[in-house]
Amino acid sequence: METIAMPAINFAAIMPEIILSVVAMLLLLVNVFVPTKDKAYLGYLSIIGIAVACVSAVGGWGNPQSGFGGAIIQDNFAIFFKVIYLVSSALVILISDRYMAQEECNHGELYPLILFATIGMMLMASGTDLMVIFLGLELLSVCLYVLAGFNRANIKSNEAGLKYFLLGAFSTGFLLYGMALTYGATGSTKIMAIQANVMANPSIATNPMFVIGMLLIAVGFSFKIAAAPFHMWTPDVYEGAPTPMTAFLSAGPKAAGFAAFIRVMIFAFPMLKANWTDLLWILAVLTMTVGNIIALSQDNIKRMLAYSSIAHAGYALVGFTACNAEGAAGILFYMLSYAFMNIGAFAVIILIGKKGEKNCNVSDYAGLAFKKPVLAAVFTVFLFSLAGVPPTAGFIGKFYLFSAALKSGYLWLAVIGVLNSAASVYYYLRVTVFMYMKDPTEEFDWAAATPSIALCLLVSVVATLALGIVPGTILELAQKAVQF
């Protein structure tokens, strides 16, 4: 009788995922058997789980582990991204309880779902096999579809969930088909093998099956990172989803999309750089411009931040187009700092928002600075960071990305990037205009921060300013992480 040879599993490569899975499944059980209505304790337990997973991930730095016969790798690149996901999940969990309780959709399944989504993201970052990346993507997406529609009683949330599901499923189809075609052209789904195949036959770039496969993979990932013209789902989903879930969507999955994109493109197809950097150039310019221009006219602050996140994906794509170590390191740094500033901004939006998703217009922030000065100041830091004004993390991130583009010789891309940055200042400033320069119409007494939200805000603002003033360490780590 023949036995199937089991590939070496190497649990060390997926220890953080294992820890999180165990925690998530335990939490599901706990949620069922503990009959309280207040689910905050689940949040605290999940944060503990995240902390343990984080420690495990960070402990593996500098010690790449390959597992499942080369399908998974936990190298510096994966660890950097895993930390980004874990941090974003922790911050999101901190801010979700208040909102969920307020909107009366405080189901305990929220926390395990967030954890499962995080596991999916971590698989995307450490996957070195197209199938594993796909697996992670699907795990992430299914959880996100549910999370986007979590607020069952709110019709916008239902719409968000459904839209995301339909468009996401469709784009996953593209991705999978692209992966299948690539498999057909190169004979393997393992990224290492694909790279070897491409190096051995450079003429594969003219093989239509391969080219189309590559394009379809790019399309699939572009949907995930909300690059134009595949961004149409973003505003509606971001606006309709419960605000903590919007925060999660904007930070984690975007970073996950970029991680997988970098892994596939820069690692698997580096020789074909000349072919796809032109495509990416167009994608980057389109994304930045579309995001910024449409954001200029938005009144709903969640929608405005949705378009701004499209624009930020555009800036990261600039680093992608540069296709050098600095560009990739810039993307890593940018994703980390973006997680902090965006989740922080959404935390403030959660505080100011009222039941039923009310009070989400920019004009509702009038006079906030004089009723809640600390909150307004913190929000201003995040807004300036998103706009790319020194001395914040947003500026350093943009600086690094544009420098990478200039280093590769893309002068016009950098110029378009900075002009877009200048244009974006307007809509971020508009919020500060309302907060500081208009008279308050209400007392904002419902906007008292709970301890967990206060913690999230504190961590985010400190991180934003620290990454802006002394980014050297993290930038060095990011540089190390992209030396595959």
């Binding site: 004089f370 004004v389 002068l411 110029v415 002009l419 200048a422 400033l429 002394v470 980014p471 050297g472």
Partner: protein, 537 residues
């Protein structure tokens, strides 16, 4: 004389510490807030005096004539190919600009004593943060650090205009911010390209001065830098943000904007755009000189027809800075010295003018010239001070304005810039026209308006604010020697660099050990080379 105290860093961060202290003061105790802010700014001014006493232009190490002193360098960010350091220092050019900043700040804060009664805490904090940014920008020798301070300056000013300004404050604030930011961002791209062209190393200015770039690269980079600085100066036709920002800003905001922040633009030209790109400087001199002269004449003509006093003074700023630009691009000893002096003069006289407008506004809540008339009878002390400042702004001999303008025109008159100087001279006449006519309509004539008949003259605090400025008007006008002497060697060096000959035989690039603690470059012993005597004497 070797420094062990990082004086420049202390100078930069004292206002920051003051701002942090103010955060903890109760927002209703206005007296405490104002006193603390005042104390911090006076302290900063006193801390800047050793700069002047310790600066030794001619008598420094061989080859370092007019070079940077009070140096501090500390590695800051090392990330992949990029290396930024915290590198600060001053030379003769930035010395006086720093002192101008620390000098004007207490005056500005003192002027808000009764003007701002609400949100005093925010106001004081913003003013102090502004001071940090301004001093930092003047002393930065690392281009990245300079850029950070340059942008950081915008934030407090934006809030000052937007929260405490006049009717159209939001429009003015946003215009100011976005307009300036667009220019700066293009400068950022040029900065990065400059760094990439310079090869491995840090963003230190001294290293970039050594670069020999080809003319085409120089042209584009000069344009990018010049755009950012031209918006700030402001040069015609990029000046449109200024009248709005100045008119809508509160008094202290206008004073600082005029006295210091406009100098950032011209400082940027002197320190960066001209010495870094000498060939491009030569190529664009006609363009910039033309724009400068147009600015002088156009702004003067527009100022003449203004009915708002503050707007009139704002346009006069554009005209004055046109003179500065003209002097700078004359690139000779007189021209540049005159330009530098005019920078300081403009700070003093236009700062004083805005303070005076602030006095009137506080009393009558209007700035329309038509609402005034015959005030001299009612407020004699005010009239005297106003007259002195007006004469200074026009450039009457005996006042500081005269020395600066004469030097600028003398410098511009030499060589190919002759016609520019001839046209610019008409600007002097025009400035007399608009200023004196405004003065006559406001101060002389019949005291008809009953609201004006009950106005009180300047009180003790207001006189205290104006006295240092009036003293400076005469001091700088009658005895400008200390200013000129300390600036001369640095100006010489700048001219040499901007003319395309890096003649300064090997500025010893400070080989500083990369240590964690701030390291201060010891100012070496005087050498035997005779200092270059300024020709204008």
């Amino acid at each position: 004389m070797s420094q062990t105290l990082p004086l420049l860093s202390i100078l930069t961060f004292t206002p920051l510490i003051g701002a942090i202290v103010l955060l903890f003061v109760n927002k209703n105790s206005h007296g405490v807030l104002r006193t603390v802010a005042m104390a911090v700014s006076v302290l900063t001014f006193l801390a800047s005096i050793p700069l002047f006493l310790g600066y030794n232009g001619p008598a420094t190490a061989t080859g370092n004539i007019g070079g940077f002193q009070f140096l501090e360098k500390m590695p800051w960010i090392t990330a992949g190919p990029f290396q930024m350091s915290y590198h600060v220092g001053i030379d003769g050019i930035s010395l006086w600009l720093v002192i101008l900043t620390t000098f004007i700040m207490p005056i500005a804060i003192l002027s808000t004593w009764t003007a701002v009664q609400e949100k005093v805490k925010e106001y004081m904090i913003l003013l102090l943060l502004l001071e940090v940014g301004m001093i930092g920008a003047f002393i930065s020798l690392d281009l990245f650090l300079f850029y950070i301070y340059w942008e950081v300056m915008l934030i407090p000013m934006y809030f000052i205009i937007g929260i405490f300004g006049g009717k159209n404050k939001i429009y003015a604030a946003i215009k100011f911010f976005v307009f300036t930011m667009v220019g700066s961002l293009l400068m950022l791209v040029a900065l990065i390209v400059l760094y990439l062209k310079a090869g491995a190393g840090d963003f230190s200015l001294l290293r970039f001065y050594e670069l020999q770039l080809d003319p085409v690269t120089q042209t584009w980079m000069f344009l990018a830098f010049a755009l950012a600085f031209a918006i700030k100066v402001p040069m015609f036709p990029l000046h449109t943000w200024l009248p709005d920002a100045h008119t809508e800003a509160p008094t202290a905001g206008s004073v600082i904007l005029a006295a210091v922040m406009l100098k950032m633009g011209t400082y940027g030209f002197v320190r960066f755009a001209m010495p870094l790109f000498p060939d491009a400087t030569a190529r664009f001199t006609p363009l910039i000189a033309t724009l400068a002269v147009i600015g002088i004449i156009y702004a003067s003509l527009v100022a003449m027809v203004q009915d708002d006093v503050k707007k009139l003074v704002a346009y006069s700023s554009v005209a004055h800075l046109g003179f500065v630009m003209l002097g700078l691009f004359a690139l000779n000893q007189q021209g540049v010295t005159g330009a530098m002096l005019q920078m300081l003069n403009h700070g003093v006289s236009t700062g004083a003018l805005f303070l005076i407008v602030g006095f009137i506004y506080e009393r009558r809540h209007t700035r329309q010239i038509a609402d005034f008339g015959g005030l001299a009878k009612q407020m004699p002390v005010f009239a005297t001070i106003f007259m002195i400042v007006t004469l200074s702004s026009i450039g009457v001999p005996g006042t500081n304005g005269f020395v600066g303008e004469v030097l600028v025109l003398l410098g511009a008159f030499q060589g190919p810039m002759r016609w520019y100087a001839i046209f610019a001279t008409s600007g002097v006449i025009l400035s007399a026209v608009y200023m004196l006519w405004m003065f006559q309509r406001v101060m002389f004539g019949e005291l008809n308006n009953p609201k004006n008949q009950v106005l009180k003259d300047l009180n003790a605090r207001e006189v205290c604010i104006m006295i240092p400025l009036v003293v400076l008007v005469f001091f700088m006008g009658l005895y400008p020697r200390p200013f000129i002497d300390s600036m001369a060697p640095s100006i010489d060096r700048m001219i040499q660099q901007s003319k395309g000959r890096n003649v300064i035989a090997a500025i010893p690039a400070p080989v500083l050990p990369q240590m964690a603690a701030p390291v201060v470059m010891p100012v070496a012993a005087p050498d035997a080379v005779a200092p270059v005597a300024p020709e204008s004497k």
